[in-house]
């Protein structure tokens, strides 16, 4: 493994042994070791993102991103529905769409069922009536 400081060489650290390692993995190890000790960011390959704030509350840090309109939201503005974060406006739109859909289906089904029951009632009135009248 890499030895930090005091060794031979211009980089200030000893070159690691290459036994059992591919050149690329060894390079990553060297780079990681060097940065860890040289006051570099702890996660060398992630870029530091600029701080983001809630679009509705400028003083609050962003907590989630709305999956529909991609707005950043604070904890108060974000609502999880079905495992997905939404802002209030998008959630209302989605709920409205779901409600309208289910009600329309309900109206159609119940109307058809009512008409069917009424039609069959009229038919059964005649059939049962004729049967009973014939039995007299």
């Amino acid at each position: 493994m890499a030895v930090i400081g005091g060794g031979k060489g211009s980089a200030g650290y000893a070159a690691p042994s290459m036994e059992g390692r591919t050149p690329s993995s060894a390079r990553r190890e060297i780079a990681g070791a060097g940065r860890t000790r040289a006051s570099a960011p702890p996660y060398p390959y992630t870029r530091r993102m600029p701080p983001r704030y809630c679009v509705f509350h400028a003083d609050r840090a962003a907590f989630a991103v709305c999956m529909s309109c991609a707005k950043t939201l604070c904890q108060e503005c974000a609502t999880q529905w079905d495992g997905i974060w939404h802002c209030a406006a998008c959630l209302a739109t989605k709920r409205g769409a779901v409600k309208r859909e289910s009600h329309a289906a309900g109206w159609i089904f119940v109307t058809v069922a009512s008409l069917l029951c009424l039609f069959l009632s009229a038919k059964f009135m005649v059939w049962s009536g004729a049967l009973l009248a014939g039995l007299r």
Binding site: H103, G106, W107, F109, V110, T111, A113, S114, C117, L118, F119, L120, S121, A122, K123, F124, M125, V126, S128, G129, A130, L131, L132, A133, G134, R136
Partner: protein
């Protein structure tokens, strides 16, 4: 308005009070909307009995009468719903409701129409077995009682609403027995009322009493059917009010409204 624990007698007492409160004008609305359906039923049954064994040869004519009766059925269900709403508002406010009793939600009406058409269908299809018709009448009672609870159109929701009252079903059976007896008493009263009317009319000079005596005779099948229809119309407001009260009281017991009302009464005393 919830004054006593849930029981058959308390339901009947409070239903009678509610009918008295809403009688004018909501009982009239119920009777006026029920009349076409009851008369259509009388005409259909009378024609059927007259045709007898030949009824199967007049299927088109009978189908026409049955279809007319189904149109009248829809009107009568609307009238029932208006009356049930008036009773419910009277139970809540303690006074006869105003125009708000007319405001029936379309979804509520559709759900109730579906439920009552279903019970009507089962009732007619199982007419031969009297017991099934009695069960359908009980189901129809619960349907009108729970009608306003179903404010979204749904195939299953009206049945679910009715099924909630299975634990207190003995009260529904008791109500059915009471209203069965009430129907018989009402039929006798309607018959006697016609008899008294005929007897009084005989005193009018120039009035064809002989003809009316024949028409209003107990041997006249049409007159007997009219008496039965009249009895049903007379009992119907109480039957609806009883079921609305029953549902209301059961709901109050579940939500604790009855306890709240009782505490308020104690505090006032």
């Amino acid at each position: 308005m919830i004054r006593a624990p849930l029981s058959t007698t308390s339901v009947l007492d409070e239903a009678a009070d509610s009918v008295r409160t809403v009688a004018s004008p909501w009982a009239a609305v119920l009777i006026l909307t029920s009349l076409p359906y009851r008369f259509a039923q009388v005409v259909f049954t009378e024609r059927l009995l007259r045709l007898g064994a030949d009824a199967s040869r007049y299927v088109n004519y009978l189908s026409f009468l049955a279809t007319l009766s189904m149109f009248a059925f829809v009107l009568s269900r609307w009238g029932r719903l208006v009356f049930a709403r008036a009773v419910r508002l009277a139970i809540e406010n303690g006074e006869s409701p105003g125009r708000e009793a007319w405001h029936i939600k379309p979804a509520v009406f559709l759900n109730y129409l579906y439920m009552s058409a279903f019970t009507e269908l089962v009732s007619i299809a199982t007419m031969v077995t009297c017991l099934a018709s009695v069960c359908c009448t009980m189901l129809a009672g619960l349907a009108i009682g729970t009608a306003e609870l179903n404010d979204h159109p749904s195939i299953v929701a009206p049945f679910r609403s009715v099924a909630k009252y299975r634990k207190t079903f003995r009260i529904v059976i008791a109500l059915m027995l009471v209203f069965g007896c009430a129907l018989a008493v009402a039929a006798i009263n309607v018959g006697v009322a016609f008899g008294i009317g005929l007897w009084l009319a005989k005193s009018i000079q120039g009035w064809d009493a002989a003809r009316w005596t024949l028409l209003l005779d107990s041997n006249n099948r049409r007159f007997m059917l009219v008496i039965i229809a009249g009895a049903v119309i007379a009992v119907e407001p109480f039957w609806i009010a009883a079921h609305v009260t029953f549902v209301r009281k059961t709901g109050a017991e579940q939500t604790g409204d009855d306890l709240r009302a009782w505490f308020e009464e104690l505090r006032d005393a």
